[in-house]
């Protein structure tokens, strides 16, 4: 019996123009919680996809319990006891937990579906691992945390021993995260081995016992977590010192830039209002954060403010200018910059090059066009400047088509464009989602610079650390309403979590002061 439950030795995987995994070795012992840490594009996912049989490496070998194996597809991986919880759950929404779990390995009796045995086994599993799951609840009615537990149960039901978690906490509240940590501890106690992919250093220090750090496809080091600090880990990951908590200059809160009163925004067709009678003021030199669990009306609030969806009522005032009925271009051109939540849906025309994307809202303005003709050369030059200033990495300069760029660099294109439009108000929706510490630090710096310039930033974020680190004031949104106004220096994660979960709420007159 080998010391390791699985080993990946000298794995090299190349894609055209890039070596995603360069001679990577990973050795995981039984009952390890093994963290895989690295920036975006460092090769974590590629490595796990190799283990999962989705990619075939050019060289290297995989050993399971000391034996050489060949993993050609996810089916093989499953047969070797490897299971994976993806960042985006792979569940059928209108199926119950039970139906989702047995999907693909249904138990039958004389050709008919027979879920009795499966149910017994699952009840036994939920008890043994303390996983609270309602087996008969349709997935669409579940909280994100429970959906994740369904995914975990799915692996356990298939008797997997090596469990891979791909950024599992990205979608969870602090309370849910804590529960997940407990579940993971329970799994390890029962003899499972865990691979935990994350770039949240707190969690890695909290749960993992060993960690391999990847940078640009290479192993930087494999270390025991015991005795490591967050700063050391982040330095290994990025290759330079990182300010984890950005330094905030003292900025005096200025006049009100945007004043929202009684704003109501409709939901999807036939649903009730997603934003209900919301009021707040955004000041100059302020980062005002709207915190909340995903799906509590933040998206619709932004749609209402930016004009992507018509408002049901209320006013959005910039001085005396009520833009609640104005079209998107009017708001764009006069007042609002907007880093959208979904960079592929709204933020970029992916098949446009960088320079074309850089002029998305300004292509008709005098700066880049004359008499209806776009001055491509000027736009190109401007984009080259932005690439330089915002350190956007791209293969072919301003002519690079954005579709082929990494997510982090795509986001930088949007951030550069929106900040440099010099609007008084920036609405930034999850501007650092899915980005690594280096890029997060960069974007936070830009937001803070805008704050120092006396602009107002409305930050919509699901990341509590971000909320606590850079905001001046926090409004917690729950079911379409603001339920609490907090200040980061006077609150903590637990309290914030309670507001977000709807367990605590303050009555405050419309939220505006």
């Amino acid at each position: 019996m080998s010391e390791y439950v699985f080993e990946m030795k000298n794995i090299t995987k190349k894609f055209p123009g890039i070596t995603a995994n360069d001679d990577i070795t990973l050795q995981v012992r039984k009952q390890d919680v093994y963290a895989l840490l690295g920036e975006n594009g460092a090769g974590k996912s590629t490595l796990m996809n190799v283990l999962f049989g989705l990619y075939q490496p050019e060289s290297g070998e995989i050993l399971i319990n000391g034996e050489h194996v060949k993993i050609r597809n996810p089916g093989d991986a499953n047969a070797y006891g490897i299971g994976m919880v993806h960042q985006h759950f792979k569940l059928v929404h209108n199926f119950t937990a039970l139906q989702n779990i047995v999907l693909g390995v249904e138990t039958t009796k004389r050709g008919m579906l027979d879920l009795g045995k499966a149910r017994e086994k699952l009840i036994e599993l939920t008890n043994r691992y303390q996983l609270k799951v309602d087996l008969d609840m349709p997935v669409e009615d579940m909280t994100v945390g429970m959906q994740q537990r369904v995914e975990i149960l799915k692996m356990l039901y298939r008797e997997n021993d090596i469990l891979i978690f791909d950024e599992p906490t990205a979608v969870l509240t602090p309370q849910e995260t804590e529960e997940l940590m407990k579940s993971i501890e329970g799994l390890v106690a029962e003899g499972k081995s865990i691979v935990f992919i994350s770039h949240k250093l707190n969690e890695i220090i909290r749960i993992a016992n060993r960690c391999t750090v990847l940078r640009r496809g290479k192993v930087v080091g494999a270390v025991d977590i015991e005795g490591m600090t967050k700063e050391q880990l982040s330095e290994m990951m990025v290759g330079r010192k990182i300010m984890l908590k950005p330094e905030k200059a003292d900025v005096k809160r200025g006049e009100v830039l945007m004043s929202v009163r009684g704003l109501t925004v409709g939901g999807a067709k036939g649903h009730e209002n997603s934003v209900k009678d919301v009021s707040f003021d955004l000041h100059a030199g302020e980062i005002l954060c709207v915190a909340g669990i995903d799906g509590n009306g933040q998206t619709e609030l932004v749609y209402g403010l930016t004009g992507l969806r018509g408002v049901g009522g209320g006013s959005i005032l910039f001085g005396n200018d009520d833009v609640s009925g104005a079209d998107i271009r009017y708001r764009n051109a006069r007042h609002i910059s907007h880093i959208p939540e979904d960079r592929h849906k709204h933020g970029l025309v992916l098949d446009y090059s960088i320079y074309e994307n850089m002029i998305l809202q300004t292509y008709f303005e005098k700066t880049v066009s004359h008499n209806g003709l776009i001055d491509n050369r000027k736009a190109f030059k401007y984009a080259e400047e932005m690439i330089e200033r915002y350190d956007i990495r791209c293969a072919q300069g301003a002519g690079t088509v954005t579709r082929g760029m990494s997510g982090g660099n795509q986001q930088k294109v949007i951030v550069a464009r929106e900040i440099e439009r010099h609007s008084s108000v920036l609405i930034a929706v999850q501007p650092t989602r899915g980005m690594d510490v280096g890029a997060i630090e960069f974007i936070h710096k830009q937001l803070l610079r805008m704050r120092e310039e006396g602009r107002g930033i409305l930050l919509i974020s699901l990341e509590l650390e971000e909320v606590m680190n850079i905001s001046d004031r926090i409004l917690v949104m729950y079911e379409g309403e603001f339920v609490g106004e907090l200040y980061p220096d006077k609150t903590n994660f637990q309290e914030l979590g309670l507001y977000m979960a709807g367990a605590k709420r303050d009555v405050f007159a419309g939220g505006a002061h």
Partner: protein, 375 residues
């Protein structure tokens, strides 16, 4: 800048460029289409007829009627499908499928006929210019109506287009029957146009003897170049492409996508209608036959656009190519074979165009293999 681009090109150099990849894949598609056409011919007619007939298609009947005549015919028949192809392709760049091209084509044809006959006494030698303008206007209006229905009333593009086609067909029948100058009662076709209403031939009748080649092809190509310019250089083109590539992002940017779709359909309508005028006012003695069927040129625009990847310049070549096949098909009739076989072959070719991505992938794999280790 140039240097950076070169460095980004992977092993395989020019052979691996996107242009070559698309081009080679299209050629493969065409060859497969032709091969299946040959098999069909062999099935229906036997070797002794099929082989020479097939040769006629391949050679575009140049062998039968001579190079000059063949060439001239190809240019002449390319004009209408060039314009409808541009029409369909241009709309597709904005993400709209313009199946209404046959209707717009017909509106253009009618307006050109109307202006050509009615305005000739007043305008004399400039009548053909008026005919073109009238055709463009009619097509623009027709396209705009369709575009507005699609954009603002959220009408299904296919249903809307087909409906507009039939409205155009019967409306034109009605208008022609009511007009004594265009039509004598009891006949099934219109009067022919006066000489002043015809496009100048610019001596092309001397170069391409025995064909109806005229300046229509030059105007058509100029329009394609103009379309290319609109898409490439203008703010309107920027809006059109942004809307076509990502409608949500265009909306986010403050572009009024409904308006853009309507305008795009209007321009598309102008292009298709120009096809009608340039074709009908192109040759002496043309008579429009009143009937219950839409003319095929409008629909042929769809394969022309697809084969040309909706690119205004590439569409010039795809229109010339399909016209080449069609002229070959006409030549085949001398073998007692129906020219429909050409439609079948072009259809199969277009059918294989939907495998284009597959062919591109196969090609890329081949190039990778060939150039392995040379990078």
């Amino acid at each position: 800048m140039k240097k950076k681009e070169n460095r980004a090109v992977k092993a395989g150099g020019i052979w691996a460029s996107p242009f070559m990849t698309t081009f080679i894949a299209k050629i493969v598609t065409i060859i497969i289409g032709l091969m299946i056409g040959l098999i069909l011919l062999l099935f229906t007619s036997g070797t002794e007829v099929a082989i020479p007939a097939f040769k006629t298609i391949i050679t575009g009947s140049f062998g039968l009627v001579g190079f000059r005549t063949g060439m001239g015919r190809m240019l002449y028949y390319a004009v209408p499908i060039l314009m409808t192809g541009l029409s369909v392709g241009f709309a597709l760049r904005t993400g709209v499928f313009n199946i209404g091209a046959p209707g717009q084509f017909l509106m253009g044809l009618y307006a050109g006929l109307f202006a050509g006959i009615h305005f000739a006494p007043a305008l004399g030698g400039a009548t053909w210019v008026a005919a073109i303008i009238a055709g463009a206007l009619a097509g623009g209006v027709w396209g705009l109506i369709q575009g507005m229905l699609q954009a603002y009333k959220k009408m299904n593009a296919i249903i809307c287009g087909i409906m507009m086609n039939y409205v155009a067909l019967y409306l034109v029948n009605m208008l022609i029957r009511a007009d004594r100058a265009l039509y004598f009662g009891g006949r099934s076709y219109t009067n022919s146009l006066p000489g002043d209403a015809l496009l100048p031939r610019l001596g092309m009748n001397n170069i391409f003897t025995g064909s109806a080649a005229n300046s229509g092809i030059i105007i058509g190509i100029a329009v394609c170049v103009a379309a290319y310019f609109i898409l490439k250089k203008t703010t309107l083109g920027y809006e059109l492409k942004a809307t076509g590539l990502n409608r949500e992002a265009a909306r986010y940017a403050g572009i009024k996508v409904e308006r853009v779709v309507a305008v795009s359909m209007m321009i598309s309508g102008v292009f298709a209608a120009l096809g009608g005028v340039l074709y009908h006012n192109g040759a002496m003695g043309q008579k429009y036959t009143l009937g219950d069927a839409l003319r095929p040129e409008g629909f042929t625009g769809i394969p022309v656009a697809l084969l040309g990847s909706n690119h205004p310049i590439a569409i010039i070549f795809s229109a010339l190519f399909i016209s080449y096949l069609q002229v070959g098909g006409l030549g085949m009739q001398s073998f007692g074979i129906e020219s429909e076989i050409v439609t079948v072959i072009t259809s199969i070719t277009i059918f294989f165009c939907s495998f284009n991505v597959l062919f591109q992938k196969l090609y890329i794999r081949l190039i990778d293999k060939l150039f392995e280790g040379r990078a």
